[in-house]
């Protein structure tokens, strides 16, 4: 069974807030859910499935379904960090294709900025995490677990700090058109390299922002999509993977996208060269480079060259990416960028991105997520979507 053309993204909403100290976490979830329903033109009673990753909040889907007062017959709380929401779309499409539900609501919300979270200090993992005792004594942090991938990438392939900086520069060229972006100023390669070193070889401007906020999606069966007034965005293919330390046989140069990407392309029946717009998870600049290689947009080791010289900038580059400014400039709600990756891809396919960054005739888009830590264990998911 394939999910190709069996489900459509009919509603998408990104919370405009980047700092929400006065709102509760569940309130943010409710606000994005209401926003996605309004965007789709559906009401709450049309929803019969709920997808929720927990967002490391301790909340259960039982609490959320009860708080939102949903009547659901299908739930999924797959948790794989910031890429969970791409997995949710794929799983919702499967459930719809199997007749388990008609319209699935997916929500993400978080307040890490209000709560003082940082990627540069060790984050608590659950007591049951088997890896904690092998990593906590060494002060593993989110940023240094990506920095070690960057350091090895430079060693193996000659990738340069300047090439990594181009990822941020491209994102900033898009963020200047996003009134909600946290960082709206265009930056240069020199400014990235001149920002403080957080964890070598990654500078502060190689890192994404910390923001509050959230987003929601509604995935529905074809009959519902056809009856709504919004442009139709079909799910063509999805792939997912989890990659870890492989029992000590560590390879930090290939991400889970090398598994998730080909699966999604095969299901969709398209190839990288067909993609008009790509949302690529940008927790750090190196994350983008490695995912582009693993997805097949360029050969392994040539990601640095691929992203250099503005190749990711809409209108001038070959592969316009993250036209909302992405996690590097716009937002990273709950320290999770997968939801906004899908939302901006939906905007592009609907022709509703900012006119200055809208890709012409954007009929085929990809969203790619990497959640968790690239340098220890991470979830990876790829979605391919088409405007119909």
């Amino acid at each position: 069974m394939t999910i190709k053309n069996r489900a459509f993204i009919v509603g998408a909403y990104e919370h405009p807030t980047r700092h929400a100290p006065d709102k509760s976490l569940v309130q943010l979830h409710a606000e994005v859910a209401i926003g996605a329903l309004a965007d789709a033109g559906l009401n709450k009673n049309d929803i019969d499935a709920y997808y929720f990753a927990g967002d490391a909040s301790g909340l259960s889907s039982m609490s959320m379904v009860d708080y939102l007062n949903l009547k659901v017959r299908h739930i999924d709380s797959t948790e794989a960090g910031g890429t969970s929401y791409l997995m949710h779309v794929g799983h919702a499409a499967q459930a719809i294709a199997a007749g388990k539900c008609n319209a699935a609501l997916i929500t993400l919300a978080g307040r890490p900025r209000s709560e003082g979270s940082s990627g540069a200090v060790p984050r608590a993992t659950g007591d049951a995490s088997p890896e904690a005792q092998w990593e906590v004594p060494f002060s593993a942090t989110t940023v240094n677990l990506y920095a070690m991938c960057a350091q090895r990438h430079m060693y193996e392939y000659g990738t340069t700090p300047e090439q990594l900086a181009w990822v941020k520069v491209a994102a900033s060229h898009h963020a200047k058109y996003n009134p909600h972006a946290m960082l709206k100023n265009v930056v240069t390669v020199d400014e990235v390299l001149g920002s403080p070193m957080v964890s070598s070889p990654l500078h502060r401007l190689d890192c994404c922002v910390v923001s509050d906020g959230g987003g929601a999606l509604i995935v529905a069966k074809p009959e519902i999509a056809a009856a709504l007034k919004r442009p139709k965005v079909a799910v063509l293919g999805a792939g997912e993977a989890i990659k870890g330390q492989s029992g000590g046989e560590i390879d930090l140069m290939t991400s889970g996208a090398a598994v998730a990407g080909p699966a999604a392309f095969a299901e969709a029946g398209v190839k990288p060269a067909d993609i008009k717009y790509a949302s690529i998870y940008d927790s750090f600049t190196i994350t983008v480079v490695m995912q582009l290689e693993d997805l097949g947009f360029c050969k392994k080791g040539e990601g640095g060259k691929f992203v250099a010289d503005g190749n990711l900038i809409s209108g001038t580059g070959k592969l316009p990416f993250n036209t909302d400014g992405g996690g590097l400039c716009s937002n990273h709600p709950s320290n999770r960028g997968g939801m906004t990756k899908i939302i901006e891809a939906v905007r592009q396919l609907r022709g509703e991105a900012h006119p200055a960054v809208q890709v012409k005739n954007c009929n085929l888009a990809l969203a790619q997520g990497t959640g968790g830590r690239l340098g220890s264990r991470h979830g990876s998911a790829t979605l391919i979507m088409e405007r119909q």
Binding site: A120, P122, D127, P130, E131, A132, Q133, W134, E135, V136, P137, F138, S139, A140, T141, V143, N144, A147, M148, C149, A150, Q151, R152, Y155, P196, M197, V198, S199, S200, P201, L202, Q245, S246, G247, G248, E249, I250, L252, G375, S376
Partner: protein, 127 residues
């Protein structure tokens, strides 16, 4: 240098950590398939056998990758993956080194360093 957080030792890993306190880094080796693995666990991650032996490590290896991480305003530390001569790659810190002179491929040797509660943990220093 700031305090080193102690590992939360479990019944599954107590023997490994106790050997470290005795001054011996070991690497788990499966008696069934013969492969070394990391991190230590009750069942072999390659063949699932529960017949695991903690083999004394040579205590030497090479830096697979590393990063100099800022801690607070004036402090920094080096996190690294070191590939042991036994073949497995382990997360660790590089200590007693000039961070500016470190390189991938560099030879290192184990240095057992006391953490907050007295449990020693395996770090590495230039060989």
């Amino acid at each position: 240098m700031s305090k080193i957080a102690s590992p939360a030792v479990t019944a599954e890993t107590a023997q490994f950590w106790s050997r470290v306190n005795d001054g011996q880094l070991t690497v788990p080796q499966c008696k069934s398939c013969g492969k070394f693995h990391w991190y230590p666990r009750a069942n072999c991650p390659f063949c699932t056998s529960d017949s695991i032996e903690l083999k004394p490590a040579k205590g030497t290896g090479t830096i697979y990758t590393y990063s100099v991480s800022r801690r607070g305003k004036n402090d920094s530390y080096v996190i690294a993956y070191v590939t042991l001569d036994e073949g497995v790659t382990v997360m660790t810190n590089i200590v007693n080194a000039d961070a500016a002179k470190l390189a991938i491929g560099q030879k290192v040797r184990v240095a057992l360093v006391e953490s907050e509660n007295g449990q020693r943990v395996p770090m590495f220093e230039p060989a």
